[in-house]
Symmetry: C2
Subunit: 123 residues, 2 copies
C-alpha cells in the first residue's frame, strides 16, 4: 500500500516516521545503523530502500554477494571500496555496485556518514 514516511532530523539524527532504527551487525552494533525506508512493511516486493549511517571512525563489513546495490550519499562524506579500488564519496554522489563485486563503506571523518542503498528483492 502506498505510504509516506516523513523525514525527522531529530537532535541531529536522521530518522523517519514509522521507521525503526536497527543495528547493522553485532560487530559494529553501536557504529552502523540501518533503517528500512521502503520494504516489506509497505508491501514493496520489487526493491528495498534503506538508509545506513556510520558514526565517525567506523566501517561496514567487507561484503560480496549476488545482489547489486544502488547508493546515494545523503549525509557527510566517506569512502567506498569496490574490489581493489578505494574512492572518496560525498553528498549527492551515486554509486552502483554490481553483483559479486567486493565492497565496503568507511567513515574516516569526524561527522556521521549516511547513504541511501537500494537492493532488489533477496531471493
Amino acid at each position: 500500500m502506498s505510504a509516506i514516511h516523513k523525514f525527522k532530523n531529530r537532535d541531529g539524527g536522521f530518522c523517519w516516521d514509522g521507521v525503526e532504527i536497527q543495528h547493522y551487525s553485532t560487530e559494529q552494533a553501536a557504529k552502523v545503523t540501518k533503517q528500512v525506508l521502503i520494504g516489506a512493511r509497505d508491501g514493496a516486493g520489487n526493491f528495498e530502500m534503506r538508509y545506513f549511517e556510520l558514526v565517525p571512525q567506523s566501517r561496514t563489513s567487507l561484503d560480496q554477494h549476488e545482489h547489486d546495490h544502488g547508493v546515494m550519499v545523503v549525509r557527510g562524506r566517506g569512502k567506498v571500496r569496490i574490489n581493489e579500488q578505494q574512492s572518496e564519496i560525498e553528498y549527492g554522489d551515486v554509486v552502483y555496485i554490481s553483483a559479486n563485486d567486493l565492497h565496503q563503506f568507511a567513515n574516516d571523518s569526524e561527522e556521521p556518514f549516511g547513504f541511501i542503498c537500494i537492493i532488489p528483492p533477496k531471493s
Copy 2:
C-alpha cells in the same frame, strides 16, 4: 559494471558526471527533467535510480501503471497526489507508490523541487 557518478551542483543545478539531462515529456519539456543515475548504462538490470526535477509552478503527468515507485525528496518541497489524497512533501521525505495507484507530483513553490525515484525493471 560498478560505477561512481559524482554529484555536481553546477550553477545551482543538480547534475552528475556521465549522466544526461533528459526532458520528461513533450508537454512539460521545459519544466520537468529526468536523469537516469543508475540504469541500463551501468548494467543495472534489477532497478533504476532516476532524479526528477520540476521547475516552480509545474507538475508531472497524472500516471497510473503496473510498476511501483520508491521516492525520496532531495531538493525543495512539493506535493504528491496518490489516488484522491494530496500530501505536502519536503526534503528527506520518503514516498512509496504502490502498483496501479494514480499519482502526480507538483511544484507550487518558487524553488526547484527534486526527488530520487526508484523503479523495478520495466517488463
